[in-house]
């Protein structure tokens, strides 16, 4: 019998908690260090926070994509940042680190291991991100047109305006709040105290989106340690237990989607058991300001939920990492006692195509 208290879980599930989180300084261009050199201090920090080493984790899972690095098998060379000899159980997803965390959570559920390392890295600076992102689109009808992510997001924002669901002033209000919250986030890349009115005076980047509604281009990386059961309490006074986690995807055909809503987020939230939880903090991965409105609605978050206290992806948007960072920031709110219940969200693909929802609870 464990001396510790755990949150109520789906029958048969193990309590698995986020016990440590570290991230790189989010910068516009990391021109000095390579990916391994960026990851090494972050991995060292995420272990040092809880006094363990790589020998104490039974699994390592990472998230990244070679398209950002511009070279093959970059995820294999990145393992040099951890040191995987003697051989380690290890895996990789060509996705944001939030999905790597999902894989680690599944493996921890099997019960063979008690702790896992999750890390991810992504730079926006080596290539032209607008071109790289368009290569992820369907290769027949979309990719040959090279639509950049901001233009696709602008179509989404415009359809919200056309449907009477939002105004440009709403986008400015979200950006103003997020960047003001980011002033308290030492890892934020873009933080300021500006009124929505002053933001609305900016020129359009792609109408109806102005510069403030866009995410920054960010180089960065992040890491998390997950631990199960009593092991979580050995490493952390108040683990951020995952009471539910789920991810869903919508069609790749953008024209076939209703871009003003996010049914995949809604379904993932339902499957993650969000409806039964009291949520104090939500860390949403909304790279474009208007997407926060879509996500808030899809998750059914009430007005008293603290939205993206870190500033969210508008404060820093390292590719393949901004989703995992949301889980790290939400966990931090639980460790500090600021929140008892939190939800973290990660997205991938154009216009919120794929979404992961992770519900966290402190006991």
């Amino acid at each position: 019998m464990s001396p510790h208290k755990f949150p109520e879980l789906t029958s048969g599930h193990r309590p698995i908690g986020v016990v440590s989180f570290a991230q790189y300084d989010n910068v516009r261009r990391e021109g000095e260090h390579n990916e391994v050199e960026m990851l090494m201090p972050v991995v060292a920090e995420v272990f040092a926070n809880v006094g363990i080493t790589k020998d104490d984790v039974g699994f390592i899972c990472s998230g990244s994509t070679d398209y950002l690095v511009g070279g093959p098998f970059s995820f294999v060379t990145a393992l040099d940042a951890v040191g995987v000899w003697p051989p380690r159980a290890e895996s990789h997803v060509e996705m944001d680190g939030a999905w790597a965390l999902y894989e680690a959570w599944v493996l921890l559920q099997e019960g063979e291991i008690d702790a896992a390392l999750v890390y991810c890295f992504g730079r926006s600076s080596p290539g032209d991100l607008t071109e790289i992102m368009s290569v992820q689109l369907d290769p027949y009808y979309m990719a040959p047109l090279w639509p950049d992510p901001t233009s696709l997001a602008a179509l989404q924002a415009q359809s919200m305006i056309d449907a009477g669901l939002a105004t440009e002033a709403d986008f400015a209000a979200i950006a103003s709040r997020a960047r003001r919250s980011a002033l308290n986030n030492p890892k934020a890349q873009v933080a300021y105290d500006r009124t929505p009115e002053s933001l609305l005076a900016e020129e359009y980047e792609v109408a109806p989106l102005r510069r403030h509604a866009l995410p920054p281009l960010t180089d960065g990386c992040a890491a998390i340690v997950l631990a199960a059961g009593d092991r979580a309490y050995e490493l952390c006074d108040r683990p951020a237990f995952i009471t539910g986690i789920d991810h869903r995807i919508e069609t790749h055909a953008i024209g076939a989607r209703d871009l003003t809503h996010s049914p995949s987020t809604k379904l993932a939230g339902e499957k993650a058991g969000l409806a039964n939880k009291k949520i104090d903090v939500a860390e949403l991965h909304a790279p474009y300001a208007h997407q926060e409105m879509i996500l808030t609605e899809a998750l059914g978050l009430s007005d008293d939920v603290s939205l993206c206290p870190s500033g969210g992806a508008l404060a820093a948007n390292p590719m393949m990492s901004a989703g995992l960072i949301r889980i790290g920031e939400a966990s931090r709110a639980i460790w500090s006692g600021e929140a008892d219940g939190a939800v973290a969200h990660a997205t991938s693909g154009p216009c919120l195509q794929q979404n992961l929802v992770c519900v966290l609870e402190g006991v």
Partner: protein
């Protein structure tokens, strides 16, 4: 009725600015001066040539710089007989894994100035560099390796690097 479309071309080209990082920059500047630079792991003391800055065994920064000699040992090799697009060397030629003296990591190099049927494991070789004015921060600064005339290295000296 028109013929069904069974094929389409969608040319894709992406350009990148490569960041070698602190460690690899030291290697590349070494090549620019006609020198091989290695880096030693503070924990296991192994020396890595062309390192990306970490020990792949221990996951710690390899901060100690070690200047390596021009000589090494062929650990294994293959003779290339197959022509392919963009081939710049006349076939047949020898592609070998070379372990520099004092290093614990081999890398791939071209072997020249020897008939292909005389290549063997353990052969001692030395680097032939381009002319000083042609040296640059690139492996192209090494034209090739050639036998240096020393007796073959004993198998025990390189058996860990195969």
């Amino acid at each position: 009725m028109s013929e069904p479309v069974t094929m389409m071309a969608a040319p894709t080209r992406l350009d990148y600015v490569f960041t070698p990082g602190v460690a690899q920059s030291k290697n590349l500047h070494g090549l620019e001066q006609g020198k091989f630079i290695g880096q030693r792991c503070p924990k296991c003391r192994k020396v890595y040539t062309l390192s990306r800055g970490s020990c792949p065994t221990d996951g710690v920064p390899t901060d100690e710089i070690v200047e390596l000699p021009n000589t090494g040992t062929v650990t294994t090799y293959c003779i290339v007989n197959v022509p392919f697009a963009g081939q710049s060397i006349e076939i047949p030629y020898i592609c070998a894994q070379i372990l520099l003296d004092g290093s614990n990591l081999s890398f791939m190099g071209l072997i020249q100035e020897i008939p292909t049927d005389e290549i063997r494991m353990g052969m001692r070789v030395e680097a032939v560099w381009v002319e000083p004015e042609e040296l640059g921060p690139t492996m192209a600064s090494v034209r090739y390796f050639r036998p240096n005339g020393e007796p073959d290295a004993a198998f025990e000296t390189y058996k860990e690097y195969l």
